[in-house]
Subunit: 414 residues, 2 copies
Amino acid sequence: MKDPGKKVGEVAVGRRRFLKTAVTLTGLAIAQSAVPTLRAEAQETPKAPEDPTKVPGALPTPYGRRSAFERAERLPRGQISLTPHQDLHGIITPSALHFERHHNGVPLIDPASHKLLVHGLVERPMVFTTEDLKRFPSVSRIAFIECSGNSFSEWAGPPGQTVQQTHGLMSTSEWTGVALATVLRECGVKPEATWMLAEGSDSAAMTRSIPLAPMLNEAILAYAQNGEPLRPEQGYPLRLLLPGWEGNTNIKWLRRLELGVAPWMTREETSHYTDLMPDGTARQFTFVMEAKSVITSPSGGQRIKPGFVEVRGLAWSGRGRVTRVEVSADGGRTWRTAQLQEPALPKCHTRFTFAWRWTGEEAILQSRCTDETGYVQPTRRALIGVRGANSVYHFNAVQSWKIATDGSVSNVHV
Amino acid sequence: MKDPGKKVGEVAVGRRRFLKTAVTLTGLAIAQSAVPTLRAEAQETPKAPEDPTKVPGALPTPYGRRSAFERAERLPRGQISLTPHQDLHGIITPSALHFERHHNGVPLIDPASHKLLVHGLVERPMVFTTEDLKRFPSVSRIAFIECSGNSFSEWAGPPGQTVQQTHGLMSTSEWTGVALATVLRECGVKPEATWMLAEGSDSAAMTRSIPLAPMLNEAILAYAQNGEPLRPEQGYPLRLLLPGWEGNTNIKWLRRLELGVAPWMTREETSHYTDLMPDGTARQFTFVMEAKSVITSPSGGQRIKPGFVEVRGLAWSGRGRVTRVEVSADGGRTWRTAQLQEPALPKCHTRFTFAWRWTGEEAILQSRCTDETGYVQPTRRALIGVRGANSVYHFNAVQSWKIATDGSVSNVHV
């Protein structure tokens, strides 16, 4: 066949049949997002040749770029930016779209002059360059990082319109570095040391206290992300990775680890990153991000048509593996088990899918995650029943997307 | 601590101890690569502030970039470019550094006008847009793609100097798309269909014949790579993914699938992509990439120092999972088992590490992969003993890096 353009016309009847067949796919048509997204960089859309087989293509390049036709973007808001999960596939977040949370901007760091000091309750205080750290035994791990403020607007509103707005403060990468335990062994951590202070080189000098016992076998001093060096906004050239723990404890631009016997009660762990309970007390040191899930498609701002719709989403738990995800189309009255995509790794986003047929009637789509500890993601009502609605952090309740009879999808609190 | 600069000085003794201690890491110091790499884009290195904590950082951005201090690049050579495995970590290849192989350049394709025709021995010939295909049930998979010409210079030379030159025609991504089986079911593939022609929209109209039976349950029509749409040089907006099969069969810029009863004997599968045997006959249809491994560090062009050296590399098999990797430091006389990094997925790069102590004497470093079928990666001598040295493709023998007494690492054929 020399001219596929002609063939396309010849088999147009097949195309119509595809669109009409009752067997599978007549249903879903996700419209352009109804919610405008910020476009920071105006970009010309190129004019592609009508028949690309008639024009020699471009030569290889040293460092590739995405197609100029693609425009998915993080949504910057002050010192954060949100990952566009409605546009993404699989579990790996492209590094260029990994969410951001800084406390005073992304520092410009020359890796040749960056150093990590390890001191306090150690036999041998030491300073390491990033090159020093790369010589130690290395470890890689695919893991999510979720800001403890992810879904904060779901506590009391105003509710986010899109899944980027409600769940954009989480992303997944393959991280590589040296195990914290290896570096502490090198420095000779003293037996009485039970806490560690981690400090960043940013102009907020972001600082958190980390209890050693639960993280000593999991923490990584990471220098790489998705194969290449960390991106600047992810802590280049060095960050702490505490798989499953709230994002801000994964100190970026890491310059100092101090070993001690008690938490330091730093600014960020006293004035921020505590959870105000209904009785006026504050929960402190809520490190673990509990089991959670969200449907990324269909999601807020999209529009579907009656018929087959594949429900797609992400599930994760800071306590280990996701063992089950269920989907409800009736606001939580009945649930059916979704399919988990391989790999389903501990403390990592797990992609789920669920084959659904939308009848055209109003529906409330929800997903619910169970992790390997048996913990089941709570409803919003149950979560607020225990925690009240004063909190900013650690919202992990079931998310509800309402499908209106016109197929439009919106965020609702049920 | 307010001034880590001062502390650094105060604990300099610790730094010296680190550099001298016999316990762990005195050995390895990989010097700058002795082999010059091509720099296609001259880039200014920025001047970073001496103390980044004193300068407010940069605000979030819609689509991030790597640090301007990082310069790892693909090595472009005509219609190929090579992944810099000596610079990479883990198993995910950054999309910007995924190897390239085009047959007449990267076409510029407007996704809105791109179509896939499925015809031939099907009940219902159909044309699909990429948007149509995204509505089908989706599947994601982390898998390597290896050009059958990867390591071609190892057959008869001149041998590549670096691992980028010898093994740069392979990369790993998370791919997402629709199962080929789903689309063929929609079109009603006829029972007599046993082969499928796949054709690209590039100006080579790259075309290969694919036997249906072995790939029907694995092939994916992929529209996404590492979470976002395929990169242009990886087939944007649509490619065929045949996990474990030689790269060129994973047709990029996919525009046509024709079902038939025999191979089409296209240009690329007759004049190219066959293997010339010693008796003058050519092996045809050698789809599977057999088990293989390579040490990425230390590797050609690097330099090490006596003491601890972590040997790092990649192993993979087109037939399934890697079950074992062994490392030899004496040119294959003795072997020891390396550690496999999780996840170790089928038809996917698996990262291995091996703790080694270099005594300062000449050494030949090798790795050897065994896959789940029990196949063991052959020596170069054994491979050439069977296949001769006329071949260009499907070199999967053990790779040898010679460590000279000065610590320099070079490629040798032993």
